[in-house]
């Protein structure tokens, strides 16, 4: 399976090439195009175990209830083009069997390969205050995953401590741990500064962040829209 990211800048998309025996799955609605021989299906869980709980948990995490799956028949090769909803960059994450990646709600687009596992994991009630989802997606196994965001995506090598504003997380290696904490020295200062809560990461590993925040953009755009009736 090969994940190619096409174009540069705000309107990137990805083209995935795969063959028989490999299974690709994506966030439902992410598919732009597919070669004629691709069999598409939807399931509530990526592989094997299906169940309503998987779908429900994923939905709470900010993803869709269903996952789309793509396969081709014996001896065949297929192509699927994928794109995120928002204007922004995409990145591939290589899963080598040794590390687990955690994706924040909404950033997961697709994954596939020999044996990719996807789990939804509860993040603790601290996330309620932070504006981050209650559940994040965990990806492990062997293969590739595709994430997308609002803005440019940057991969940062963290060694020690790193403070990330909420709303900017795309994914992180599970060798890192985070705590939700107030942005400034006091609660009043955190509120007045407009930064509110932050995620304080610790450990050694990779982190993927986005340069912009949908909430910030929404707060600017919202007042210009007519009121809901």
């Amino acid at each position: 399976m090969k994940f190619n990211i096409l174009e540069t800048g705000a309107f990137q998309s990805a083209l995935v090439e795969f063959e028989h025996g490999e299974e690709l799955f994506s966030e439902s609605g992410a598919m732009v195009r597919a070669s004629g021989n691709v069999e598409m299906d939807v399931s509530t869980r990526s592989r094997g175990k299906s169940g309503i709980m998987g779908g429900l948990k994923r939905m709470i995490s900010g993803e869709s209830f269903f996952v789309s799956t793509y396969k081709v028949g014996p001896g065949e090769k297929g192509e699927v083009g994928l794109a995120p909803v928002l204007p922004g960059e995409m990145k591939t994450i290589s899963l080598d069997g040794s590390t687990t990646w955690v994706c924040s709600g909404g950033s997961f687009i697709a994954a596939g390969g020999d044996d990719v596992e996807m789990e939804t994991r509860f993040q603790g009630f601290g996330n309620v205050f932070s504006g981050e989802g209650l559940f994040f997606l965990e990806l492990s196994g062997v293969g590739d995953a595709l994430v997308g965001g609002f803005g440019a995506l940057h991969e940062i090598e963290v060694s020690g401590e790193f403070t990330l504003d909420t709303g900017h997380l795309i994914a992180y290696e599970k060798t890192l741990e985070y705590k939700i904490s107030k942005a400034a020295s006091s609660l009043t200062q955190s509120f007045l500064s407009g930064e509110g809560f932050v995620m304080k990461f610790e450990g050694h590993g990779k982190l993927i962040v986005q340069t912009h925040d949908v909430t910030g953009f929404g707060k600017r755009l919202g007042p210009l829209l007519p009121e809901r009736e």
């Binding site: 800048g9 403070t163 990330l164 407009g194 925040d213």
Partner: protein, 219 residues
């Protein structure tokens, strides 16, 4: 203290590399991440009453955040709207920046709030500007890309597209279609510039996006 801007024209982000004793100011909510020994506090920008007026008229925060490093550290920040982030040295004449696009500045820069006047108040657009003077760098963020123009003469720019201009220019806010259309439609407000100096214009404006998306919203 060094600044690097990445991601222009679509998603500009600045990274400040700070040493012990370095400081700078950034708009409320602009910070994306930081690492190393750096802390910040929220300060009123330009006095209580001016801050309050700015909050009421322009809907922007009364506060600005001062970042202070006590050792080697980094702070990444961006404007809340997706587009190009511009860094400009402040000249002796000063610079005017439209209220919502100011993103950050270095310590030698003095900031004052200027109000756009009666027409701007009623149109809800261009209610205030930030006047930057002194010495240092200012950062402002665009929606879309930025066109920089060296003006010698006269230029009319739609109010929603004006990002910043040098204070050597004379300017006035006026209704493109007369006072009536300014007051009642909230559209048609333009800025007329004359003289010599630079102007920065953004290629998109949020009111346009809002107007386009509105018919698609459920009531």
């Amino acid at each position: 203290m060094e600044f690097e801007i990445l991601g222009n024209p679509d998603f500009g982000e600045a990274r400040a590399k700070l040493g012990a004793g370095d400081s700078f100011h950034a708009a409320s909510g602009a910070m994306n991440w930081h690492r190393g020994p750096v802390s910040f506090r929220a300060k009123l920008m330009g006095g209580f009453f001016r801050s309050l007026f700015r909050k009421i008229l322009g809907g922007t925060s009364m506060f600005i955040n001062e970042y202070q490093a006590t050792g080697p550290s980094e702070v990444a920040f961006s404007h809340c709207v997706a587009g190009t982030l511009v860094k400009i040295p402040v000249t002796s004449e000063g610079l005017l920046i439209s209220g919502g696009s100011f993103t950050a500045c270095t310590p030698g820069v003095d900031m004052r709030t200027q109000f756009g006047g009666f027409k701007a108040f009623f149109s809800g657009k261009g209610a205030f500007f930030i006047e930057a003077s002194g010495s240092g760098d200012v950062f402002f963020g665009a929606y879309g890309a930025v066109v920089e123009k060296e003006l010698d003469g006269e230029l009319i720019v739609d109010n929603g597209h004006v990002l910043a201009w040098e204070n050597t220019l004379d300017w006035s806010l006026e209704g493109a279609g007369g006072l009536k259309s300014t007051l009642f439609s909230g559209e048609g407000l333009v800025m007329r510039f004359s003289g010599r100096g630079r102007i920065w214009v953004q290629t998109r404006h949020l009111t346009g996006t809002a107007g386009w998306i509105t018919p698609f919203l459920r009531s």
